[in-house]
């Protein structure tokens, strides 16, 4: 995986590779609420990574799942902390997540209204994930907004959103229990596959989305569509967990490099 991390740029330096690039910062002014925010662009591109998963039933058949530069999803994350009296909880912070998909993100250009079901559901899932990870007790009477926009959707959008939002929250200095690393997994023809692409997702097999806190091994969110025999669950879960840990290694490396600078 290959992550570009940008932050509110005070300058205009552009770098390539898994380094940081100064991104344009946008300071939002809203009439009813005072907000201050950063636009953090995180692009996530998987490298050619071969995940070999062997099918136990037939030892001769090894399935190689290669993710080649097509891209999971590009996510742009904007978040802000502000003191708001409207929906403030007295003892902890409110986490508000909003998900939106750019019109050019899928194969056909489709205009998506903002309040539609998929966005709301994704937003809710992201909220659950991050409420588990962020130490909200330290920010009473505040609201943490996480806005995620998908620029390119090719399967695994939830996972990409979670990974990008983790980086964004980390960059803002909001205390978290741990990284949240996510990955999707599925089950096709007797083999567990990690990180499904759009084509594989559309094929209609069971899919699993897993968000993990790597250090403690705790699961922040586990979601599954369609039906899967419980015998296979273990393997699929393991594949997803392994992929999530790989993501964690990458994010870890990038963040450490960032902090070093």
């Amino acid at each position: 995986m290959f992550v570009n991390l940008g932050w509110q740029g005070m300058g205009q330096g552009w770098t390539q590779g898994s380094q940081l690039k100064g991104a344009r910062g946008r300071h939002m002014q809203d009439r009813e609420r005072k907000t201050g925010g950063f636009v953090l662009e995180v692009t996530q591109l998987p490298l050619a990574e071969a995940l070999k998963v062997e099918g136990e039933a037939d030892p001769q058949r090894t399935v190689e799942c290669e993710l080649e530069g097509v891209g999971l999803a590009h996510v742009s994350v904007l978040f802000q902390i502000r003191g708001s009296r409207a929906r403030a909880l007295p003892d902890r912070a409110l986490v508000n997540c909003q998900y939106s998909s750019a019109t050019f993100s899928t194969g056909e250009r489709k205009r998506r209204p903002h309040g539609d079901r998929k966005s709301c559901e994704m937003g809710l899932q992201l909220r659950q994930t991050f409420e588990a990870a962020i130490l909200t007790q330290l920010h009473p009477r505040s609201q943490i907004d996480i806005y995620v926009q998908v620029l390119q959707a090719d399967g695994g959008t939830y996972a990409a959103c979670v990974n990008a939002a983790t980086l964004a929250v980390l960059d803002a200095g909001i205390p978290m229990r741990d990284f949240v690393c996510a990955c999707s997994a599925g089950f096709v023809d007797g083999t567990a596959l990690a990180d499904l692409s759009h084509v594989e997702e559309a094929a209609g097999g069971p899919q699993l989305a897993l968000a993990l806190l790597p250090a403690s091994g705790q699961i922040a969110l586990l979601e599954m569509d369609a039906r899967l025999h419980e015998d296979h669950l273990e393997r699929v879960l393991e594949a997803a967990a392994q992929a999530a840990r790989d993501v964690h290694t990458l994010l870890d490396r990038v963040v450490r490099q960032h902090v070093r600078e």
Binding site: W7, G9, M10, G11, Q12, G13, W14, T15, Q16, G17, Q19, G22, H27, K34, G36, I81, R82, G83, L135, H139, P140, R141, S142, L170, D171, A172, G173, I174, P175, M176, R177, D178, F179, L213, P214, A215, S216, D252, V255, R256, H258, V259, R260, E261
Partner: protein, 285 residues
């Protein structure tokens, strides 16, 4: 009209960090700092299963038995005695809400403000009604932190002649971690401008008031100096250098051979900051 187009170029990271401490212990959330239970936990850490775990990405700081993790970039966290520059966002019943780049809006109580005429008296209902006459939404003020509430909100006061509403000048917003803590944050630079380095990352550049004459004239005459200073501050911030009066001054002097608008170009920025860094090192030792 001639236009200049620039393409983004891969920037080589300045790995020759002269004088930067490379022995810092860097952590990311989820890292175990120590398993020794004898330490007290400070900011940026939490206790999990008898281990002290970091909750932000930053460097570990240890003071005797207290361990805390200083995050790389956070909002301003108020401490008593800090000088801040803020913008009024709301006028409420007996106080003003001030935006200071912190997690919650700061509060400036009416009783913490100096009345014109300098009288010390109880604030009456008329004073409340006249609040908007003193400070309106959008005004910039300089103030000092009086107290910090339990949820992190900061209470300000302007009970001194050097604090109060700010007049003409330029505001630069930077990250609070880049402003060095010093004895005084009000500096009069020899180039003709003065600067207030707010601890919250708001930096105010204004023309030095010379015997309180010529307010409007002073700003226009010093426009070039102020613009140059602003660009210098931005270039220092891009290169993650600490901001204090000496560094700003050296940067200003290093930038004199260049045109003001050229200072923002990446290569010239690097050049100026390298020169500043060298001068600062020479001065230190």
């Amino acid at each position: 009209m001639a236009m200049e187009m620039r393409l983004p170029v891969a920037r080589k990271p300045l790995s020759e960090r002269l004088g930067r401490d490379t022995k810092k212990h860097l952590v990311v959330p989820g890292d175990t700092i120590t398993t020794d239970t004898g330490f007290m936990r400070g900011h940026g850490t939490y206790m999990g299963e008898e281990k002290l775990i970091a909750s932000v990405a930053g460097s570990v700081e240890r003071v005797n038995k207290l361990i805390c993790v200083k995050a790389l970039k956070t909002r301003y966290i108020g401490e008593v005695g800090d000088i801040v520059v803020g913008r009024i966002t709301e006028v409420q019943q007996k106080r003003w809400k001030v935006e200071t780049n912190s997690r919650l809006d700061s509060v400036l109580l009416l009783s913490s403000m100096n009345l014109p005429g300098g009288e010390l008296r109880r604030r009456s209902a008329e004073d409340e009604l006249a609040m908007r006459g003193f400070l309106q939404e959008g005004d910039l003020i300089s103030a000092e932190v009086q107290a910090v509430f339990s949820d992190g909100a900061v209470s300000l006061h302007t009970r001194s002649l050097k604090y109060g509403k700010l007049g003409q000048g330029v505001l630069v917003q930077v990250s609070p971690s880049l402003v060095k803590r010093q004895k005084t944050h009000f500096h009069d630079l020899p180039c003709g401008a003065s600067v207030i380095l707010g601890n919250n990352g708001f930096i105010w550049i204004y023309p030095t008031p010379e015997h309180k004459e010529e307010e409007a004239g002073g700003f226009i005459a010093n426009l070039e100096v102020i613009s140059r200073l602003r660009n210098c501050i931005i270039s220092l911030v891009t290169q993650r250098m600490m901001l204090y009066d000496t560094s700003i001054l050296y940067c200003y002097e290093a930038s004199l051979p260049h045109q003001i608008k050229d200072i923002l170009k990446p290569e010239i920025m690097e050049e100026i900051v390298m020169e500043t860094r060298q001068r600062l090192l020479e001065q230190e030792g």
